[in-house]
């Protein structure tokens, strides 16, 4: 009954989505207030029914209803409750439902927090999001129904892949999808502005918070995925440039460009074309990612399914969404206009350069990810190519280095017209200091390579310029209290990048690994720490049996950690799995994983130990970036107070600001 209810809810949701996608946009074109007014309530309605469907599927999982095929494929009665719930998005059909559900959540949020926007804009934005919903609901109902019955019902489910039975599974996909789907809001704003012909600073002001929130979610989602791979896979690796990883990185790169571009359009009315394209691009890349994971086009460990038929549908969806938005852009581009004027050396130029570099970076990742596909297609399947980490690392660095160098200068340059010697005067000591430190430090740490020095240089450069600017404002511009949260957000996010770079540089430069055979009592030394193996004992979990090792880590004569790595055997699937044990530290991780028992050796095991200096700075940096974004959001400019002025004066204010901003003496200080 419940699965059928869920199925039915999806059908109702589709009907509502069709109404939501068509009527308000038509109403906006005709100036019909009644039709436009349909947008908000119908959006809420669609949300209710998709939520209902989501709830029904969740119930089927939690209730162990193995007469539902999707539940039988992804769950098991011995699976702990939280993983039974998370298994909902463990497969293709359920993850689509999660996608659609989050889309309705975002739509309702837009409906709720848009009271100050003109009605046509709201109608169009909600309409566009409704149309995207239609695409996904059609896909689910015709080709990927999570509510299909399995008759006769399975006695028990096939179980969730043991690698996924982890807290990471509960949080990483929802976060990631919130980011992916969130870019649909910026996309919808861009399209509605194109349709309405009203692309100005106010449009950027409205789009910006939505885009930033989506960006924050995506940042956290990617970081979580990376951290999860690190501790789950047992090899201490955290990024493999796998096609699916790249599929999340590309929208992130473009999304970062978009966030910056919106800032310029908001402040100076400039870059409008670029901002619109980036908004279309970010969401298009999200959709492309959805396609890549489900179509079998590229080989990846993350692939959900490789059904070409489904692939065709998503490709069609992709084609329609992206194609129509690009056509719309091409048609309306001449009307967009240029906005404020600025000199060759100015903050605008730095930000524009930043956009170019981020786009180049995204294009590079795109090229590398899809190149095997191009080669295979052009050689009729005769030639197969692999493009892996060595390629990406080689080409990504030359693009990122200039970007990080320039990133420090952007906040210092003035709007409209800046002075190079001025800028140089402000940063020359930081430049000298970071250079000296970057060259000297690796010697102190024990190993010098050009890459380590380069990484340190970039990180110190960014940190130094951030701190220098903070100090300058503290001393000169009326103290730090008068700075806006937006400013602090920016500096925090940039600092996050520096922290990230330190993590990557130091862990890659200085990590140690020992792959040894250990009998009980044996010790091994790595990174100055002594690891002592105390043998294994049997233990069990809710749905697995395990051999649990005990490893005591000490430095000198002080015990630092007790680690319990496990070798698990999951009962249902019979799949073996290694559960590494990690001692997390601010300046290093100590990582132990069990290999295989060594036959005929009296209890000896193959054990792998790692000393990974500063590895948590990688994810720490990402968290700082996300916090920076959240801080920027808290700026009062985005707070929705009941500002009666805004609703009526928004369009005229926008135009006036554009003119005013370009003529009035520039205010360079506030971010």
């Amino acid at each position: 009954m419940i699965p059928e209810l869920g199925h039915f809810s999806l059908i109702v949701a589709l009907m509502l989505a069709l109404v939501q996608g068509v009527l308000p946009i038509w109403g906006a074109a005709r100036g019909n207030a009644v039709l436009m007014g349909v947008a908000r309530p119908v959006a809420v309605g669609q949300f209710v029914f998709v939520a209902l469907a989501f709830g029904c599927l969740a119930y089927a999982f939690l209730d162990n209803d193995f007469s539902v095929q999707y539940v039988a494929q992804n769950s098991n009665s011995h699976l702990p409750a939280q993983y039974r719930f998370a298994a909902l998005w463990g497969g293709h059909e359920g993850s689509l439902l999660l996608w659609t559900f989050l889309l309705t959540v975002w739509t309702v949020a837009v409906a709720q927090f848009s009271k100050h926007l003109p009605q046509e804009m709201v109608a169009r934005v909600i309409g566009v999001m409704g149309l995207v919903s239609v695409g996904f609901l059609l896909f689910m109902l015709f080709l990927s129904n999570p509510f299909l019955r399995l008759l006769p019902a399975a006695a028990d489910g096939r179980d969730l892949n043991p690698l996924l039975q982890d807290p990471g599974m509960v949080i990483h996909p929802p976060m990631l999808y919130m980011g992916y789907v969130g870019f649909s809001v910026a996309f919808a704003f861009a399209l509605s502005a194109l349709i309405g012909g009203q692309l100005d600073a106010t449009w950027a002001r409205w789009s910006r918070p939505w885009t930033t929130v989506a960006w924050v979610f995506l940042t956290l989602g990617i970081a979580l995925g990376s951290g999860w791979a690190y501790y789950e896979l047992g090899w201490g690796g955290w990024w493999f440039w796998d096609p699916v990883e790249n599929a999340s990185f590309m929208p992130w790169l473009v999304g970062t460009g978009l966030v910056h571009s919106l800032a310029v359009t908001e402040k100076r009315g400039a870059f409008k074309s670029w901002t619109v394209l980036l908004a279309i691009g970010a969401f298009s890349l999200s959709l492309l990612g959805t396609f890549l994971v489900r179509s079998g086009v590229l080989t990846s460990v993350h692939a959900f399914t490789t059904d070409p038929q489904r692939g065709f549908f998503i490709l069609a969806l992709l084609f329609v969404v992206i194609g129509s938005s690009l056509l719309l852009y091409a048609w309306r581009a001449p009307k967009i206009g240029l906005g404020g004027k600025f000199e060759l050396v100015s903050r605008e130029t730095f930000l524009l350069l930043n956009n170019v570099l981020l786009s180049v970076a995204a294009a590079t990742v795109f090229l590398g990810t899809l190149y095997p596909l191009f080669v295979e297609a052009l050689s009729s399947g005769q030639r197969k190519l692999s493009v892996g980490p060595p390629y990406f690392e080689a080409v990504f660095l030359p693009v990122m280095v200039p970007m990080v160098l320039l990133m420090a200068l952007g906040p210092i340059a003035r709007w409209k017209q800046a002075n190079l010697s001025d800028i140089w005067r402000r940063v020359r000591w930081v430049a000298a200091g970071s250079l000296v430190l970057a060259i000297a430090l690796p010697f102190a740490l024990g190993k010098w390579t050009p890459l380590i020095a380069l990484g340190l240089l970039l990180a110190f450069w960014v940190m130094g310029t951030v701190l220098a600017d903070l100090r300058r404002r503290m001393v000169r511009d009326g103290g730090l209290k008068t700075q806006s949260p937006s400013y602090f957000g920016m500096q925090l996010a940039h600092l996050g990048i520096a922290v990230f770079i330190i993590g990557v540089t130091l862990v890659k430069g200085y990590e140690t690994e020992r792959d040894v055979r250990m009998a009980p009592g044996d010790t091994v030394v790595a990174g100055g720490y002594t690891f002592r193996f105390d043998g294994v004992q049997e233990t069990a979990g809710p749905n697995y049996q395990a051999m649990q090792g005990r490893v005591i880590v000490s430095k000198g004569d002080k015990t630092v950690a007790q680690l319990y790595p496990e070798k698990r055997n999951y009962m249902t699937s019979g799949m073996p799995m290694t559960e590494a044990a990690i001692d997390i530290g601010l300046f290093r991780d100590l990582y132990v994983s069990l290999g295989e028992p060594i036959p005929d050796s009296n209890g000896a095991w193959a054990v792998r130990v790692y000393h990974k200096p500063f590895v948590d700075w990688i994810w720490g940096g990402c968290i700082l970036m996300a916090l920076g974004g959240i801080l920027a959001l808290s700026d009062r400019r985005y707070r929705i107070h009941a500002r009666k002025k805004q609703a009526t004066e928004s369009s005229s204010t926008g135009a006036a600001r554009e003119k005013g901003a370009s003529v009035v003496a520039n205010r360079s200080k506030t971010a």
């Binding site: 460990v301 240029l338 294009a363 590398g368 080409v395 040894v516 009592g521 044996d522 003119k659």
Partner: protein, 154 residues
């Protein structure tokens, strides 16, 4: 009685066995290190995108064994990768070789950079010629200034 005591004493011998420094799992750590370095950039051919170094598949283990033997036989890195490419094609390399059909791949990013930067400067120059500053009356200027000041207060 003495025999019993002796037996009791002897039973403690295993506990006194010297627990020492763990030996490397690999027979020859130098060879192993080089093998892992090579294998990290090679593809496991029967996996869904995993490196030859980290895969648990049987073919991967056989190929790792093969690489070790070749290292011991004194072959160079290039000879070993050539050996694998002769049998499995360029697909086995995670670093795409520089060949006629990978020129676009390797030079593409630099081309993008060039086009991007070049396009930027071209557009900038064109823009400076076409953007006209609107002339505001003194009254409009004041109004604009007030609006901006208002913004900053909030």
């Amino acid at each position: 009685m003495k025999k019993l005591l002796l037996a009791a004493l002897l039973s403690f011998v295993p506990l006194l066995a010297w627990a020492g420094e763990a030996k490397d799992l690999a027979e020859d750590p130098a060879v192993e290190k080089r093998m892992v370095a090579l294998a990290s950039n090679l593809r496991c051919l029967v996996c869904q995108n995993e490196s030859l170094a980290s895969s648990h598949a049987e073919l991967a283990e056989d190929l790792r064994r093969e690489v070790r033997e070749q290292i011991r036989a004194g072959k160079s890195d290039k000879e070993i990768t050539d050996y694998l490419v002769a049998r499995y094609g360029d697909f086995v390399l995670y670093e795409p070789p520089m060949k006629s059909y990978t020129l676009v791949l390797w030079f593409g990013p630099f081309l993008f950079l060039f086009v991007g930067a070049g396009g930027l400067f071209y557009l900038m120059r064109k823009r400076r010629q076409s953007v006209t500053e609107p002339e505001l009356t003194a009254e409009a200027q004041q109004r604009a200034a007030a609006l901006l000041k208002d913004e900053e207060k909030q």
